[in-house]
Structures are given as structure tokens and as C-alpha cells.
Amino acid sequence: MTDHKLPMRAKLATSLSRGAAALSRATGRGDGSVIGGRIALMVDPNLLAELAAGREIALISGTNGKTTTTRLTAAAMGVLGDVATNSLGANMPTGHTSALAKAGATPYAVLEVDEHYLKQVLDATHPKVVALLNLSRDQLDRAKEVAMMAALWRDALPGRDLHLVANADDPMVVWAAGKAVAAGTSVTWVAAGQRFHDDSWVCPECGASIERNGEQWACVAGNLSRPVPHWTVSGDGVVDNTGTYHHIELQLPGRVNRANAATALAVAAHFGVPPAKAVPELSKVASIAGRYAVVERDGRTIRLLLSKNPAGWLEAFDMADDVPTLLSINARDPDGLDTSWLYDVDFSPLRGRRVLVTGDRAMDLAVRLEVNDVPFEHVKSFSQALTLIPPGRLEVIANYTAFQDIRAELDRVN
């Protein structure tokens, strides 16, 4: 697809969008991708469909890991040619429009999709592959209940010409994919793991209990059970659907990122990328919009981990090294206003480490850690934490706006 093939209105909207994005970046209001997309969509609501036409597209959705998996998938697909992607996490239709407009003509696109918008983006972009990562509780005071989200997906997927790559370890995902799969949609099951089980004790199909036994899970009453995975994570690598093991030197930490890599390879494989060719590309990905970034400051080596919900916190504990750890929590609009979820997270993996707490809602965290028998120190800011810990490593785990605050503090000290 090239610009001259776009209808006039779309062309106009695209150039307006590029102009607005540049303006928004120049005036320091965000990265420009959302503002550009919004103006473009006002000019032409069909623009996303028009920009998507002619590209082979993969959509990546789920509660956690979608930004990382999108980045890894785009890296893997890069083996084939130019890939458009919304790398800055602007994952709603305006962000997609802006990403495709900015990228110009590319044969491929990999788009991260907010789970609430999956149907809309399916309708507009006709993807070749859709990856479904996981579903768990997120921002309780406004997000849809997990089972409701799974039902939306379940009804949105059937009757389309697409291939699914889905997490066999998450009962909600398996059920969400189930209707399309039963109707003949092809699927690659990935054993991507599930660290947070509390949203899937009850079968979404019939309300009976879901029993777990090691990796296996099944509804005690009905037919919903763990499908046999085609791709699995094993040690520091991935076993593909032919049984071949691929060692991955991933710079991103934790088992969860090896699972994200497995999903990315499985998606790319469906476009014809041999895993052996994609693996070296995955190894080059170092940090994603500042997440996992390692920063040196005053002899301290600081790694930033972003965790937005209970499942994300459990994953962060798995990634974090046994070194002093700063936790920071806010409860502003983008974070969700209710901090009750802190009690869905078991903080005991942090016992024995030096733990510091900060953020708008440090007191919620303090009470939670006290109940969890995790000793801690309260600090006023990230900068104060730096003065208290000795030279060496520091892990920082923060939720959304707390993470942005700390990045801003780091920039200021720079």
C-alpha cells in the first residue's frame, strides 16, 4: 500500500495527523501518537480500515504483557520486511490510526490492542493473526469484570478469516477462543503460563469449579479444559510446534517474558518467519517504553519494572533480583482509584530483602506489608530512596503513574 492509493479524504487525514503529531511532540504534550490519531479519526472515521487495507496484520491483546509481546512480535516480523507498530503503548483505535499513518506504506503491521477494543479493531483491520495473552483483574473501579471481558472476546472472534495464537494456561482465554475454534478457526496454543489464578476458579461456561493439577486444569462439570499446547517455554528457551528447542538470550527478565517471546515467535511463524531466524531479533530488544530499563545513578544500578495489576506484581517479583527494592503506588485516574487489589498480591517473596515504599499511596502499601510480615521503610521520594541504599543494585517496582513519576525524577536529576 502506498500513499497515492489512499482515497483523497484519507490522504488529507493522514497528513493532518502527521502534522498534529509533530505539533503535539513539539509542544511537549505527550508522544503525539494519540493526538494525531484522534484528529485523523475526526476527519475520516473509516481511516483505520483504509490504512489497514493491503497490510498483513497481527493484533496482540490481553490484560498483561501486550506492549512487550507487540514489541517482540514486531522484531520477529522485521525479518520479512517493514512493520508498522504502535510501539508507545497507544493501544486504542486512535493510536492504531496514528501508528499506521506515521509508518506510511508497510507490508506488515503488529498492533497492541486494549482488550476492550478488540472487536472494533478486528472489524476495522481484518487481521491475519490475533494473539490472546491473558485476562485478569485490572483497575477494579472501572474495568469490566474478567468474565464479561472474556464473553466479549468470545462473541467477537467467530466467523472471521484469522488464525488465533492463544494462551492454553488461562481458562478465560481458552473459553474466549473456544467459540471461534469450535466453528473452525485455526489456533496455535501456547503454554504461556498463568501466575494469578484468582480470576479463574469458576468455569465461565457453566459456573462449576475449575480444578488445577500441576499445569493441567479442567472444569469439574463440563468440557472446558487445558488444550494440549503447541508451543511451550522450557528453561531459557522455547519449544516450537515441531518439537524443536530454541535457546533465547532474552534481555528482558523473567519467565513471563520468555512466554511473551514464545507467543511472538508463534505469531511470526504463522506469517512464515522461521523461529531460528526470529530468535536473534528478540535478543536485541532491551527495554520497552522505559520498562525494564537499567539506569546508572550515583553508583546505583537501578532497574525499573512497571506493574499495573495483581498478576503484573506477581510477575515483577519473579523478575526482580534479591537486592534492595523500592515499591511505589499511586491511585490516580490511569491507575484506578481503589487500592484494595494490594491484598490480592502476596508480597512474601520480598521477605529478607530491604524494602522501601513511596508514592501517593505509600500508607496503603505500608499497612499491606505489615499484614504480610514484610519489614519496610517509608521514604518521601525515589531520590530519598537513592540516598538511603548503598551503592549497587536497586529494583524499582511501580504502578502506572508512579512509574512515570520516577522516570520524570530520573530525567530531572540527569
Binding site: R137, D141, V202, S209, Y343, D344, D364, V367, R368, V371
Partner: protein
């Protein structure tokens, strides 16, 4: 307290009603009992298991409409909770769990029968109540200001058989005027946070009801700072 002099805490249906960090209330009760030297035994009873009638404190949490309706049906059919109340057990309920202890409530647009353990009825409000909740607690309970976070679409109307837990000073609670309810040793509230993290006084009241013993003060520095911070935030807005 039961004969083996272990305090039995029973968390009902965490598989259905545990949307708002409800495990926190169980953990906090257990910890505060433990700090007073009371031996504690915690049990989690899932919706496909029988409700034991020999618990000392029962906890029921919050959840969405579907699970709430299912939980009420199963609790009514099971009968264990009513037998426990007849024995004098203590119940602490939050949000959906609070509504289902009443005479009736609405879930998914339909009126559902509650357990009738609290004299109250819940229906739908015109707006969803989401945000900080604060109120002055019934003087008969001798507790400091209630603080919590609420997130519900229901409005609750109290009958003559219960007393309001608090008079609302911020947020909605039952109806914008009163919040929660209590009768005998049964207490219900709309506040999460979870409620006992922000209101250790209520946790100690439940322990006193269940044991008949006075709860000696413990180090509540952090819960006090949390309370002060939240109540100041409500005043500011």
C-alpha cells in the same frame, strides 16, 4: 469461641465473592487475634463446599451481580450460615456480601431473595457510587470515623430491625445518608480498602463479639497514618 478455644475464621465463597481485595479482611482479623495471643484457625469455604456451622467469625466479600446471585442461592440452600448465627456467630460482610444478608437485592435486573439475616432491602441507584466513603459510626459501637472506598450500583434501605453502621459524611453508602448496618453480631458495610485495613477498630469489635474478651491496644502506627491520610484526602475534596 469454640470449645477447643481456637478462634475459627471462615471466609465464605472466595471463588465467587473476592473482587475487592477481600482476603485482606481475613488476614487482618487473623493477625490482630494472633497479636493478642489468641490461637486462630482460618478456613476458606468455596461455593461447592458445605458451610460449617461451628465458625466464630464469617467473612463475605464483594463481587459482581452473577456471582452474588449464585452465592445467595447457595447460602440459602446450604443453611449453615443461619445455623451459625443461631449459635451466636459473628458475621462481617462487604458490598455484594452485605446486600445478600438482607431480605432482598437486585442482580442482573432481577429481584433476588437474600438470607434475611439483616432487616434491609437493596435496589438499584440511578448512578454508580464510586469513590471515597466516610462516616461517623453509630455511637453505640464506640468506634472512630469510618473510612473506605466504595464501588457499587445498589442503594440499601434499612428496616427497623437493624441500626445504621454510620452516618455518611462523604460518599453514598446505603443512600447518601446512612452507611452499612448492624444487628446483634452481624455487621455489613459498602467500604472496601479493604475495610478492616482502614478500620482496625471494626476488626477489634468483631474479635470482641466473637471472644467476649477486651482487645488490648496494639501498635497501630501504620493503620493510623493510613486513616489520617485518607480522611484528610476526603476533607480536601
Amino acid at each position: 469461641m469454640s470449645t477447643e478455644s481456637r478462634l475459627r475464621l471462615i471466609w465464605l465463597y472466595p471463588d465467587l465473592l473476592s473482587t475487592y481485595g477481600d482476603r485482606g479482611n481475613l488476614l487482618i482479623l487473623a493477625r490482630r487475634a494472633d497479636l493478642r495471643g489468641l490461637p486462630v484457625e482460618c478456613a476458606e469455604v468455596r461455593a461447592d463446599q458445605a458451610v460449617p456451622a461451628d465458625g466464630d467469625v464469617y467473612l463475605i466479600g464483594g463481587g459482581e451481580d452473577g456471582p452474588q446471585a449464585l452465592a445467595a442461592q447457595r447460602l440459602i440452600a446450604d443453611g449453615g450460615l443461619r445455623r451459625a448465627v443461631d449459635r451466636g456467630a459473628t458475621i462481617f460482610s462487604v458490598c455484594a456480601g452485605y446486600q445478600l444478608l438482607g431480605n432482598s437485592f437486585y442482580a442482573k435486573g432481577a429481584k433476588c431473595a437474600g438470607l434475611g439475616l439483616l432487616d434491609l432491602d437493596s435496589d438499584r441507584g440511578e448512578t454508580r457510587a464510586v469513590g471515597e466513603l466516610a462516616g461517623e459510626v453509630d455511637p453505640a459501637l464506640g468506634l472512630p470515623t469510618l473510612t473506605g472506598f466504595e464501588n457499587h450500583g445498589g442503594r440499601t434501605h434499612l428496616g427497623p430491625g437493624v441500626r445504621p453502621l454510620a452516618r455518611v459524611t462523604a460518599g453514598i453508602g446505603n443512600d447518601g445518608r446512612s452507611e452499612g448496618a448492624w444487628h446483634g453480631r452481624i455487621l455489613g458495610t459498602y467500604s472496601h480498602g479493604p475495610a478492616l485495613a482502614r478500620n482496625p477498630g471494626i476488626a477489634d469489635l468483631l474479635l470482641r463479639w466473637a471472644t467476649g474478651m477486651t482487645m488490648e491496644p496494639i501498635d497501630d502506627r501504620w493503620p493510623t497514618r493510613l486513616r489520617d491520610e485518607r480522611l484528610a484526602a476526603v476533607l480536601k475534596s
